[in-house]
Symmetry: C2
Subunit: 145 residues, 2 copies
């Protein structure tokens, strides 16, 4: 089991790809995105629909339409993507699966787990959607295989 769900992984990969293409001045269709991040096209469509409903990603229909980000959206944190598709359990939930994570009634792992969870939270809040655009354009990163 991975840290993030498949849904969330595809969402983040797609968002990084669309961000790069937006930086380059293009909108991108589902087919192009799915091809470049190596994800099942119809499944990815569902995920991007969700992101679109939540206002995380922008889209327009019709010819020359597709998904894209504006300047403001490129500065949103990656955490918004995670929350939109997976909710906030990963940011607030108990590591041992108790109903609530609680300071006053903690599980044994609470103190140790909280540190890890806080670092993950901090990382996802300080990493913006557009952070890797230049690196992606320069070919420094991979989003498929």
């Amino acid at each position: 089991m991975a840290i993030f769900s498949k849904t969330c992984e595809y969402a983040m990969r797609a968002v990084f790809y669309v961000a790069q293409r937006s930086h380059e001045g293009y909108k991108v269709g589902i087919k192009e995105i799915a091809g470049h991040i190596n994800s099942p096209e119809p499944f990815l469509a569902k995920i991007l629909q969700q992101l679109s409903r939540d206002g995380v990603i922008l889209s327009t229909k019709g010819p020359n339409g597709g998904f894209y980000f504006d300047a403001a959206s490129l500065n949103r944190p990656l955490a918004d993507v995670v929350t939109a598709v997976d909710g906030d359990e990963i940011f607030t939930g108990c590591g041992l699966g108790l109903t609530y994570c609680s300071e006053s009634n903690p599980c044994p792992l609470h103190e140790e787990f909280k540190k890890v969870r806080n670092q993950l939270t901090h990382m996802l809040h300080t990493t913006t959607i557009g952070k890797f655009n230049l690196g992606l354009i320069k070919g420094k990163f991979t989003l498929n295989k």
Copy 2:
């Protein structure tokens, strides 16, 4: 979605409870464990079977039998429990779901994700199964609800 699977959460809760009872000198049956960690009994049985096959937990059949840890087992890292039920993907996998996490061909999130993953790994390797025995006996921690 939580960091760990339900299976893994139940496994860790069970292990902490059995460790405490072992420290107190008892073996514990499935029914008692499930009751104290609030988990479905037959499902937990499967999980503990797996841990037993992997040699993470000890068990004996028959009257006065049950699950327990010896002194050596109490010093094993919690990471062994996670690996036994969920594999090592959480310790080695790519945060964006690429087939392999690679230094030479990294995903955009690689550097940032690696830090979080390393801290999680470190935490699970330095936390022993028996670490919380005294705290549990003193009632400082909760394992149900």
